[in-house]
């Protein structure tokens, strides 16, 4: 295969696999910016995958599947929000338990669904005019689908909201200094609930995308740790949606490469690369990083109670 074709295919496939990573990361960025660490992303993704697949199978409508996935992911995240924000429980353990629950429930209910073919998936889109643009054309405008495009459009939108609107200022203040936000009349709990909900919805959609569009198929545990990469990516992105996009597509490219390079490099090595890479990136980024400029939201994973400082 010629080099150029090879690169184009890699980038093109990165877009496809990067989309669920990006969706999950965008949601987690918002959740963490509001101060809630959501380790339940894996559970929400897999539940999204399961519910999307079964809905699409039963109704024959893939879009309905994605919608249901969003609702299911959101519902799951509300449980996490309730535990973390209202009950002020340990967020790490709450997230982990939801991941266990999600994996367990989807594995349990999904038992009979493996191997079933999906009757219809969302259509591939090729924009013939734009796809003639050298290099970028075939990557972006050939054989992608609507969700990929919507996800890309989400990035500047979520960036703008976070950094240039009142809502974004509010969210960031809640994650940095909830006592301050509270004293200004901001409902800290409500902001956190909304952000965690967004995280859950996007995670659900990401999972639904996997089972309805990317494969499309259902296998038990099919998210295969994608939720954990999302957690790493959120840090890698400095909690910024734009960097999140770069990170997501980068990892997707790595993942794709692991299959491409199989004859020369052992597949296990490449599969482990994203995780090792995440650690390496964290190491690189930890040095000389001014905590205040680029670091984590100060109140991340700390429950907030009024009057307790």
């Amino acid at each position: 295969m010629g080099w150029e074709t090879w690169i184009i295919t890699t980038f093109s496939r990165s877009l496809a696999y990067g989309t669920p990573l990006l969706l999950g990361t965008l949601g987690e960025i918002y959740a963490e910016r509001s101060g809630v660490l959501n380790l339940g992303v894996e559970g929400m993704m897999i539940m999204g995958a399961y519910s999307a697949f079964t809905t699409a199978y039963i109704t024959g409508n893939p879009w309905l599947g994605i919608l249901v996935a969003a609702v299911v992911g959101g519902a799951f995240s509300l449980i996490h929000a309730f535990a973390s924000v209202t009950l002020k429980a340990n967020q790490i353990v709450s997230g982990l338990s939801l991941t266990m629950l999600g994996l367990g429930l989807s594995g349990m209910f999904g038992r009979g669904w493996e191997g079933k073919p999906l009757p219809a998936t969302i259509p591939k889109i090729t924009i013939s005019g734009l796809s003639k643009i050298p290099f970028l054309g075939p990557i972006l405008f050939e054989g992608q689908n609507l969700i990929v495009y919507l996800t890309i459009l989400l990035v500047p939108l979520l960036w703008y909201i976070l950094y240039r609107t009142r809502i974004g200022i509010t969210i960031r203040s809640v994650g940095e200094s909830p006592a301050t936000a509270d004293s200004l009349g901001i409902n800290v709990d409500r902001v956190r609930y909304m952000c965690v909900l967004l995280g859950g919805v996007l995670a659900g959609v990401a999972g639904g995308y996997l089972s309805v569009v990317y494969r499309p198929a259902w296998t038990e545990g099919m998210t295969a740790g994608m939720g954990w990469i999302v957690i790493a990516l959120t840090i890698f992105a400095f909690w910024n949606p734009v960097y999140g996009m770069l990170g997501a597509y980068l990892f997707a490219a790595l993942y794709h490469l692991s299959y491409r390079l199989q004859p020369w490099v052992s597949p296990e090595f490449l599969k482990a690369m994203p995780y090792a890479f995440a650690i390496l990136v964290l190491i690189f980024v930890s040095r000389g990083t001014l905590q205040k400029r680029m670091g984590a939201p100060a109140a991340l994973s700390l429950p907030y109670t009024r009057g307790e400082e």
Binding site: L39, A89, N90, S97, G104, K271, A276, I279
Partner: protein, 359 residues
Amino acid sequence: MKRRVGFKVERRPVASGRVVFLVSLLAILAALVVAGIFFRIYGVSPIHAYQLILRGSLGSRFGLTETVRRVIPLLLCGVGLTIAFRALFWNIGAEGQLLMGAVAAAGVALFSGLPGPLLLPAMFIGGFIGGATWGLIPAILKVMLGLNDVITTLMMNYIAIYFVEWLIHGPWKGPTARGFAYTDTFPRAAWLPTIYGTRIHWPTLVLGLVLAVVMYIMVTRTRIGFEIRVIGENPDAARFAGISQLKTTLIVMLISGGFAGLAGVGEVAGIHMRLLGPTNISMGYGYTAIIVAWLARRNPLAVIVTSLLFGVIMTGGDVIKVSLGLPFQLINVFNGLILFFLIGSEILLRYKISFLLRR
């Protein structure tokens, strides 16, 4: 605090041991009830199912031994985790540390060429070192660079999983049967003795029990135990007192990783006698051990009880699969529920609800 008709809610300054115990019991009961709903969905009476589980995992000889067999890794990992959690090191990586211990043990067993009697002790030492190393890496990263311990230990789990996969498919590949890959079987001298007719590799069990007691003594009676407790309760005061966060974190993860590594040794030398696929070596022991340690309220002695509980639950999974045709995954659901209710119920530990008689 608000005063409502009928009951009063006030902050509880310190929760007594009795309250903690009752609340934990409440959490387990809640999980049982909710899980019962899932049983009903499958058309099975929950009481019937629970009875079966108890009888299957404790009532029969086979069941009991299967339960104890599962207790061993839970006990070792759990004790190690209580130490880590006490120092506020969120070790989510027990799974990976267990696997690396298994790898080390397998390496010693298959390639070290040591004479027979030395093999098992060497495997245990190697396994401890393997797990400890795997645990020390995130510890060093946290202390020196401030990297988040949850993320790093989690990532290391997956690196360990793929490492094992690589070994059994690649350099350590043994005979492949039915599409599963594993290494050669260990030499006979590297097999852990088991109680006759069962799969209980008792040396590891004894080791686990001994370590639980030793850790309890360490936490309550020694200098290092004191330092761990101080760091876990108030890191600022620890710094003020000149306690080295670096040294304590490293020691804590050495222990936690090492113990998980020992669990790994037990699995490959006591159950499987070879290195095989990561999900066959550990059925989520590292993650379940988190619940075990949490439920034990970070008390190493209590881990003996809680690991038994979860051994019963895990065996119960087999029971319901075989006897009732229910999916094993229900157990994961149950575990998730327990963990969730445990932390959800902690609010009851912080606040006291007292009932007032209305005059």
